[in-house]
Amino acid sequence: MILLDPNVTALLYLAAAVFFILALKGLNSPRTARRGNLIGAFGALVAVVTVFFSTRLDNVPLILGAIAVGSGVAAPVARRVKMTQMPQLVALFNGVGGGAAALVALLELPHAEDAWVRVAVVFTLLVGAVSFAGSAVTFAKLQELMTTRPVVFPGLPVLMGAVLLAAVGAAAAVVMGGSLALALLLLLLGLVAGVLLVLPVGGADVPIVISLLNAFTGLAVAASGLVLGNVLLVVAGTLVGASGTILTRAMAAAMGRSVAGILFGAFRGGSTAGSTVMSDRPVRSSSPEDVAVLLGYAQRVIIVPGYGLAVAQGQHTAAELAQALESRGIRVDFAIHPVAGRMPGHMNVLLAEANVPYESLKEMGEINSEFRTADVALVVGANDVVNPAAKTTAGSPIYGMPILEVADARQVVFLKRSMRPGFAGIENDLMFEPQTTLLFGDAKESLTKVLGAVKAL
């Protein structure tokens, strides 16, 4: 194999790093986001081709086989995953990246002559392992392989403390002596720490933790770049670490949360575990025809879409209903909460797909003052994002999150299947208010029935 000149190699790696920067820049704006992602992929391609042509490598067929296996598994899964499951897939990919960084560091340990390099090794090991195990737990939570509620047990803070202490000890020993056995122990401690870190996080906060672990993996990759003396890994990892940190904070802010609160809140016992059982308090339920009358004779209707609309795939029916109402001269808007659904931007994507005119999509800040002028707020498969407990109940897991003020509307209609709570697992008192009616059933079916009834008015 012809080997590239070291300077050419370095330039190609630098080009890849620049592509990554441009990718992140592109992802900042809807217009350039997709191209940005492609630029990033191109940068990765450049880097991978470069490594093959610049390093004397044995086992090339095996490596190519491993790459084929990795792509062969990941690409189809990524291509076929359902919208609602994307967050957990991102978590999964993030976790395996962290795992890969940890393994690379482990294998480089015997070659790490310098104590400083061993510092980078233990950092990568520990952070990579935390990211791997933590991501696995977030995956399990989002995929509902385990409870989405915070898991706390009495000894948790003590156990976490002990694990971290042991990890620091092991790390110091590895830096001093370079023992492989202790490095394996460190890896194990990192895995345990990752699990303990994520267990107490409530399901609603999981996306933020994914973002945080994403930043962690970035840092691990940067450190592995220091171990291998590879500038590209350093730059790419640092970029992800830094931007991931900012992004985590921005996401937490959008949900009215602080990152520290999410991670340590449960330790401090601040989190009250919500109930997932159905409530049996009396509610006012009504027929599709009743709802159609309410809507058809209103002046102004605000539709609040939520996770339930997404799972029911009811966005097209919702858009049709809005059109039907508008053709009756009624003003209809959609109120978009930033964390409605299961990922930020979920509702925009969903309704965009259903061709809802974008003038009708209103951000929370914009629409909140207008609920008081609305005759009907139609809440379709949403729950937490309209739950007044976020403002009133200090102990609630969603306390502090800004909500859509549907209670200000003259009438509130919920479309949902049952009295089960939403993601955060807490009851919504708004359902028991006098101005509220519920129409039970799958969101898409209910919308279809209401649409039919409106047309028949």
Partner: protein
């Protein structure tokens, strides 16, 4: 490359990372996270180097595992991000209503705001 160079590069990359995402709208948080996630899959380069220099079969096995994992991160990450972003375009192709200033309308929240203000 010496330590000081690497440190300088790291510090500058931190600033680039901070600045580059500091103004993104919440609509794009998920794709941005996912895209950044794909980028750290570049650890694949490290895994390839380690695998290519492995002599002991155990080392090789672990290194190949790292290659598989890193590839999954890299390839899967870019593909899933692309899929997310694909949906963001849905609207451009068949706009329901002709409206001023098209272009990824469903997600361009600032634009939406300006437009609605202008029409008030």
């Amino acid at each position: 490359m010496d330590g000081i160079s690497l440190l300088t590069i790291t510090v500058l990359a931190v600033f680039v990372g901070f600045e580059v995402v500091s103004k993104v709208s919440s609509t794009l948080h998920t794709p941005l996270m996912s895209g950044a996630n794909a980028i750290h899959g570049i650890i694949l380069v490290g895994a390839i180097i380690v695998a290519g220099q492995a002599t002991h079969p155990w080392v090789l096995a672990v290194a190949l595992l790292a290659v598989v994992l890193a590839t999954a991160n890299l390839v899967g990450g870019f593909v899933v991000t692309d899929r997310m972003l694909e949906m963001f375009r849905g609207r451009k192709e068949k706009p329901a209503k002709p409206a001023p200033g098209v272009g990824a309308p469903g997600v361009a929240q600032p634009e939406t705001k300006e437009n609605t203000e202008a029409t008030r």
